[in-house]
C-alpha cells in the first residue's frame, strides 16, 4: 500500500519539474505503459489477500485517476503554451490588401429591363420579343401606317434594301403584330428591346430601347390602361403617390391615343419624380386601333384593349440621374463602373426593385 502512495508522491513531484511534452509522455508511459508501474501494480491484484483486495483496488484506482488527470492537465498546459508561443511569431499586418477579387457590372439598360419585367410580371404580363430586322409591313402597314402616311416621316428609318422592304424596326410595336398573328387572344405582353432611328445628336441615338405593352381581352377599356400605367409608374419610381395626366395625342396604331405626363420637381438641379408642379412626357399609349386588330385577325366585336410604348433609356436616366443618353452606348469603363449594377442585384418584387 505504502508503495503506491510513494509512487504517487514521487510522480506528483516529478510532474512539477520543468518538462516538455516528451518528458511528460515519458512519465506517462513509465506509469501506464504495458509494463508501467501502475499497470504492474494492477497485475499484483491477484496476490493480494481477499480481505485487502477491495481496498487495494480502490486505492490503486484513485491514484491512477489522480495521476492520469495530472498528466493530461500537464499535457494540455504544455500544448497551450506551445500554441501561445507560436502565436507570438504569427502576427500579420491585416491592413495589407486582401487577395484580389473581380467585380462585374450590369448595364443600366439591362437592369431597368429587369425592373420593368418584374413589375409587369406581378400583374400578369409575360415577356415577348421580336427581331431587330423587320419588314415594312410589320413595322408600318400592319400598324395602320400606310405608305403615304405623314406619320412615317416621324420615324427616320434605317433601310436594308433598295426597295425599302426590310428595315431596322423603328419601335417595338411590330412585336404586337407578331404576337397577335401567332396566337389567339387574350394577349397580355410586354416587349422590351432595341429600336433604331437614323437620328443622331446630343439627345438622340441611332439605337435606343423601348418597351411595348399590349393587353387585349374582353371589355378592356381606357380605365384599365390608366390603372396599369399608374401602377407601373409608381412601382418603377418607387414612390407612393404620383401625379399623372393623360393628354390626347395621335399614333396611327391606337385610337384614342394619349401621351402620358408625370409630375416632377427640380431640387438642387435633380429631377424628383412624384408630385411636383412640372410635367414630364414619359410615354405614349392608347386603345389598339380596330384596323390593327383586323390586320392581325382579332375579332373586334369580341376583343379590344390597349397598347403602350416607352423609352427604356429615358426611364433609366430619370430614375438613376443619368444626364447623357449617348453615354449609354459609349462603353466608357468609368461610366459603366459608376452607373452599372452589381450582378447579384436582381430586381424582384419581394426584395424590392432597387437597393
Amino acid at each position: 500500500m505504502s508503495d503506491i502512495i510513494k509512487i504517487k508522491e514521487e510522480y506528483i513531484n516529478k510532474l512539477k519539474d520543468n518538462l516538455d511534452l516528451n518528458n511528460v509522455n515519458q512519465l506517462k508511459s513509465e506509469l501506464f505503459g504495458k509494463s508501467g508501474i501502475i499497470s504492474n501494480e494492477f497485475k499484483k491484484m491477484g496476490s493480494v489477500s481477499a480481505e485487502d483486495r477491495k481496498k487495494f483496488a480502490s486505492d490503486l484506482n484513485s491514484i491512477k485517476n489522480e495521476l492520469q488527470i495530472l498528466i493530461e492537465k500537464r499535457i494540455q498546459d504544455i500544448e497551450i503554451n506551445e500554441i501561445n508561443l507560436k502565436l507570438q511569431n504569427e502576427q500579420v499586418d491585416v491592413t495589407l490588401p486582401e487577395r484580389s477579387f473581380n467585380r462585374g457590372k450590369i448595364h443600366p439598360v439591362s437592369q431597368v429591363i429587369d425592373e420593368i419585367s418584374s413589375i409587369f410580371s406581378e400583374i400578369g404580363f409575360s415577356v415577348q420579343e421580336g427581331p431587330d430586322v423587320e419588314n415594312e409591313y410589320n413595322n408600318f402597314t400592319a400598324l395602320n401606317t400606310p405608305d403615304n402616311h405623314p406619320a412615317r416621316d416621324m420615324h427616320d428609318t434605317f433601310y436594308l434594301d433598295n426597295k425599302k422592304e426590310f428595315l431596322l424596326r423603328t419601335h417595338t410595336s411590330p412585336v404586337q403584330v407578331r404576337t397577335m398573328l401567332s396566337s389567339k387572344p387574350p394577349f397580355k405582353i410586354i416587349a422590351p428591346g432595341r429600336t433604331y432611328r437614323s437620328d443622331s445628336d446630343q439627345t438622340h441615338a441611332p439605337m435606343f430601347h423601348q418597351v411595348e405593352g399590349l393587353h387585349i381581352d374582353k371589355n378592356i377599356n381606357m380605365g384599365h390602361l390608366k390603372g396599369c400605367l399608374n401602377y407601373f409608374i409608381k412601382e418603377f419610381f418607387e414612390v407612393d403617390k404620383i401625379r399623372m395626366r393623360f393628354r390626347p395625342s395621335h399614333f396611327p396604331f391606337t385610337e384614342p391615343s394619349a401621351e402620358v405626363d408625370i409630375g416632377y420637381e427640380l431640387k438642387d438641379g435633380k429631377i424628383i419624380i412624384g408630385e411636383g408642379d412640372k410635367w414630364l412626357e414619359i410615354l405614349g399609349c392608347g386603345m389598339v386601333h380596330p384596323n390593327v386588330l383586323k390586320n392581325v385577325k382579332v375579332d373586334t366585336s369580341k376583343f379590344q384593349g390597349y397598347a403602350f410604348g416607352m423609352g427604356i433609356d429615358r426611364l433609366a436616366m430619370l430614375k438613376y440621374g443619368i444626364n447623357d443618353l449617348r453615354a449609354f452606348f459609349e462603353t466608357d469603363y468609368r461610366w459603366l463602373n459608376h452607373f452599372g449594377f452589381d450582378p447579384l442585384d436582381v430586381p424582384s418584387s419581394y426584395r424590392g426593385l432597387s437597393r
Partner: protein, 802 residues
Amino acid sequence: MKFTINWLKEHLDTKYNEEKIINKLTNIGLEVESFESQSSEKDEFVIAKILNAEQHPNADRLRVCNVDIGREEIVKVVCGAPNAKKDLITVYAPPGAVIPKNQMKLSISKIRGVTSYGMLCSESELKLSDESEGITELSSKKYNNQIGKKFFKNNSPKTIDLSITPNRADCLGVRGVARDLAAAGAGKLKKFDDSKIKFKGSQKIKVKITKEKNQGCSVFGSCLIKGIKNTESPKWLKDKILSLGQKPISAIVDVTNYIMFDLNRPLHAYDADKIKEGIVVRNSKKGESFEALDNKKYTLKDNMCVISDKSGVLGLGGIIGGTRSGTELDTKNILLESAYFNPRSIRKTSKLLNIDTDAKFRFERGIDPNSIEEGLFKAARLIQKICGGEISRADVQKIETFKKIQIKFPITFFENITGFKVVEKEIIKILNDLGFVVKKKNNDLSLTVPSWRPDILLPIDIVEEIARIKGFDQIKTELPEKVRDRPTLNKQQKLFHFLQRSVASKGYYETVTWSFTDSKINKLFKEDMNEVEIINPISSNLNVLRSSIFSNLIIYLKKNLDRGFKDISLFEIGPIFNGNKPGQQKIVLAAIRSGKVSRHNWIEKERFVDVFDAKRDAIQSLVEAGFDQNKLYINDKAPSYYHPGKSGSIYLNKNENNPVVYFGEIHPNILKKIDVKTEALVCIEIYLDNIKETSKKLKDQKNQYQYSDYQKSERDFAFVIDKNFKVQDLINIISEVDKNLIRSVKVFDVYEGENIPSDKKSIALNVTIQSSEKTLKDEDLEKINQLIISTVESKSGAKIRS
C-alpha cells in the same frame, strides 16, 4: 402651327385668359410647344455690372473689365470708355450681337493682345441718344437686381406654337383651333365674313384638268383680279406674318400666306399676264424642268402633278410655284388659285424632289375640299381692299366630286372603349360644335363628318373626339389585378438573363453597343456570313449590321486603353446578323478580357490573362446556368479570328453538332490591323441559340441522391504521351476504366522538356477511387491501378513514367 392670342380671338369669342387657353389646348390634344414672343435681334443686349476695371497692359486709353452678365462665368471685355469703372451698371452686347447704330456684328477679338468677349455699349450705339462719350450708365438703384436681364423690352406679342399631330390637318389653320376650343367650352366660334363681293366679269383664262391616270388634282378654282397695285402690306398684316416667324414680302404674297394660316387654305397667285394661253393641270413628263420660287431648278419625273401653260411647267401643284409666273410689285393682274390636290400625290412628289413647304405640309395631310371658294373670296376681298382692282367670278374646274363620310355610331360604344359615360345630349352637342351633322336613330347616331376632318372614318374616331373634348381626366383608374396565369419568361429568356448575370459576376462590365458597325472591322470577324449593308447609314463607319459583337467591343476596348486602362473586362449580350430578313439574327454573349491578373499585387504573382482564364469563365458560366460540366466536350476548332493555337470550342456534349462557346485569344494579325496595343487579350463567345431548350426542369434532370461512406483512395500516375494527344481524351480513357470506382481524375502537372522525348509530354494525374459497396482492399486497388495503366497504354500509346 403658330398664332397670337389676338389672331385666335378673331375667330373665337372667349372670356378665357391666356393661361386657361393654353391649358385647354393641351387638354384637347393640341399640344402647346411654347408660348413666347418671337425672338428679336435685340434680345441679346443684357444689363451688366463691371466688377473691376484694370488698366490695359499695352494701351493707355483702354481698360480690361471683368463683367458680370448674370451667368456663372464672368466675361472679360476690353473697353475704351473713360467712365468704365468698378460697380458701374451698363449694357453688354455678346459676340454675335448686331450694334443698332452701325449694324456691325460683334465677334470675339484681340485688342492689343487682350481677348475681348463682346462689348459695353454707349447710348449712341444703342440708338438711345446721341451720347457717345462713354458707355451707358444705368442707375444702380433701379437695375442692380436685374443683372443678366434683357435690356430691350421685347414688345412683340407672344405667339402660341402648337405641335399638331399628323391627323389634325384642320388645326393647321387658326379657325380650326378656334372651333376645337369652342367645342371644348372655351367660347363661341365667330361667324364667317360672307359679305357679298361685287364681281366684275368672268374668269377668262381657260383652265383644264386633264383626265389621266394618277391625276393629282381633282378641283381647281380660280378668279382673276385685274388692275391692282401691288404694294407693301399694311401694318396689321405685316405683324401677322412676323408673328408666324416669316418675313413680309408683298401684299399679294402676304395675303395668300395669311389665308393659309388663318383658314388652312393654301392659295397661289399668278401674274396673269405671264400665263401663256390658259392653264393645264396635268401629269409631268420625265425631264421637264422649271425654276421654283425657292430659286432652285427642279427636273421632274413622270406623273408629278404640274400646273402648266403653253410654254411649259408653271409650278408643282400644291407644293411650290415657279418664278416665271410669280407676282412682283409691278404686277397688274393676278390669277388666284384655290385647288384640291391629292395627299398621296403631294407626298410622293415632294419626297422625290425633297421639297418641304407650308402648302405641301397641309395638302399632304388633307385640305378641306369644300373650302375652295371660301378661301378664294376671303383672299380676293383682302387683296382688293389693299391693292384695289376688280374681281372676276370664280371658275371651278372639277373632275371628282367630294362625298361626305357617313358614320353610324352606337352610343354605348363610347363607354365600352373609355370606361366612362357621357350623356347623350352632351355627346350630340360636342359633335355639333365640331361640325358634325347629327341625327339620332334608335340607339345609334347617324353622323355626317365635316369636310375638313379627313381623319375621321370610323366609330372609334368619334370616341376619340368626344373623349378628348370631354377631357382624358374623366377616365377612371382601374387598379390592375395581381394575377399571373402564364410564366413571365420562357426558357430562352431565362437563359439570357442567367448568362448575363453569370458572366458579369466573373468581373466583366456589361456594355451595350450599336447593332451596326464599321464594315472594315466587321470583315475581320464575319467569317462566311453575309454582310448586311445599311442603305442609309448615319455615318460611313456605322454602315453594316454587325456579324460579330467583337468588332464593337474591340473598338471600345481600344478607346478604354487610350484612357489609360489596362486590365479591362467587357461583355455584351445581343444580336448579330447574317441576313437582311427578319429572323436572320442570333443572340450571342461576347466577352473580352485584357491585361493582367493581380497586377501590382503584394501577395499574388501577377500574370497575363490567358486562354484558361477565358475557358474558366465560359465553363463556370455554363455550369452556373445549369449544364453538366462532366458532359462538356472541348475541341480546338474556332473561327479564324481566333489565335489558331490558343482557342477552342465547347459543346454541351460530345454528340452535339454546334458548339455553344468559342474561347481563346484573338488572332494577333487582327489586333495588328486594328492597331490594338494590349499586353494580352482573351475572348469568349456564347451562342445562346445553339443551346437547345431542355424540356425538363433542373430538379428533374438530377440523378438520385447517392453517396458512399467507404474509404476513398487516391493514386497518382504520370504518363508520357504524344504531344498532340489531348488531355481530355486521356481523362476520358481513365474515367471509363471503371465508372463505378473512379470518382475523379485531376491533372496536376504537364511537363515537356528535359528527360522527355521532344515529341512527347508528361501528364501527371491524380485519380480518386472509391466503391459504394465496400472498403477497397490493397489488392483491389492494385488491380484497378494496373487496369488504368494497361488501358491507357493500349488506347493512347502512352507509357507510364517510372
